[in-house]
Amino acid sequence: MNVLLDHLSEFREGFLGTIGLTLASGLLAMLLGTVLAGFRVSPVPPLRYFGTAWVTLFRNTPLTLLFLVIWFAVPQVLDFGFSPWVKALIVLSCYTSSFVCEAVRSGISTVPLGQAEAARSIGMSFFQTLGLVILPQAVRTVLPPLSSIFIALTKNSAIAGAFSVTELFGWQKLLSDQGYPIAWVFLWVALGYLVITFAISILFRVLERTLEVAR
């Protein structure tokens, strides 16, 4: 208990850091992932290839390796001068977007083909079909896997702690180096993560309820 009380301000900073990074990269991944899913079901071949390549690359590379690449390999060729936080945001968003893309795409496949054909037959464009007919129906199916993806993202953000970002897991490193009993430190860190992930699952449960449609 003392460990937490003595270092409450650092703990709070870490906690807020994890929330901030998770929220920001979650939103960006959501946006990127939805666009990529659109690419992957679009009638334009180059866009389809791009989407497939993106997902293949980011879904199959270990996250730590992506961090190492943006920290050590990218600056050798191009030096953007990004801050550590922005680097983490880019890596986490790209990585998570590939999972979001696949979840959204699977949602799209659950909408019966007749829906798309009907939309096309009354003269809707591809974007109208996707935005007005398909996606609204796909959202319901996509919510449960998305919830898992964002919970995974929360925990994945811990890796950013090893790359100069202030977040919850880094607090543990700070204190174990000073020789505090490790079990307590881990307990508080775990509880911190639990609060965030639990909030995410509650949010999605509420969303599921509100979007429920009698089939």
């Binding site: 390999a73 050798q76 880094g170 174990s176």
Partner: protein, 306 residues
Amino acid sequence: MKLRKSAAAAAAVAALALTATACGGESGNAGDKPAGASGGKNQPKLPTYAVKSDVKVDSATLEKAQKAGKIVIGSKDDQPYLGFQDSGGKRSGFDIEIAKMVAADLGFKADQITFKTIDSGVRETTISKGDVDLYVGTYTINDERKKQVGFAGPYLMAGADLLIRSDEKGITGPTSLKGKKVCSIKGSTPLQEIKKPKYGAETVELAKYSECVQQLLNNEVDAVTTDDAILKGYAAQNPKKLKVVGKPFTKEPYGVGMAKNDKALRDAVADAIEAHQKNGDYKKAYDATLGLSGSDYVEPPALERY
């Protein structure tokens, strides 16, 4: 955004491979294979330690080790010239030498030592559980730790310092870091110091010192901070490109960790350190390891017995 000299993807991947394996090329094999150290000079040789026989110490830990015929010593494996393990599994460095000279005085030959790599975060737990008999690995003696483990020492007075590129003119100590980028390990004590607003430095925190050193060599950061002993090891590995400023701004007395209430063993280890400091082994060991960095030898601190 500026376009660098096109270091092709291959170079980038090579750099990545280096950082990923946390080993800057030459392994820290001090003594017989100079790792690009001060060219042409006779490399200082590592001393050999006379092993005592019939050692009697009233310590349960030691008696158990004597029965088993081997002593288990915890150490680090990723600090060149200090506590390093090369890809062949051979360990080298100043802390390893300290472990060997202490073990010799306790009656164990070098081949009767089992080294175990123990991460900083779990040192106290490992020692109090009895998984290691002794621990030698940049272990700063402090009161919080004394509640959980016993210390013999200090055998080396380290202190937070700065590692810079050899051609760096602007950094002469912690007070000249305004607007500079300083790298260190997540949660390390020197970084907490440098973070204070009075220094005005920008900090970068990574998981390994080798990553920080890589960033320094890539001109991504201007300095690396941690205990000078660790920095000297990296400077010894790369004496042409790197140097230690030599103005320590904290005190980090390194001790040998062991079970908390084993006074007999504490005294025996302290005696061993003292004996080897007196007979010159200590200095020889330093010259053949951390001394290769070009930093001067400093007389060891007085031992504190309690």
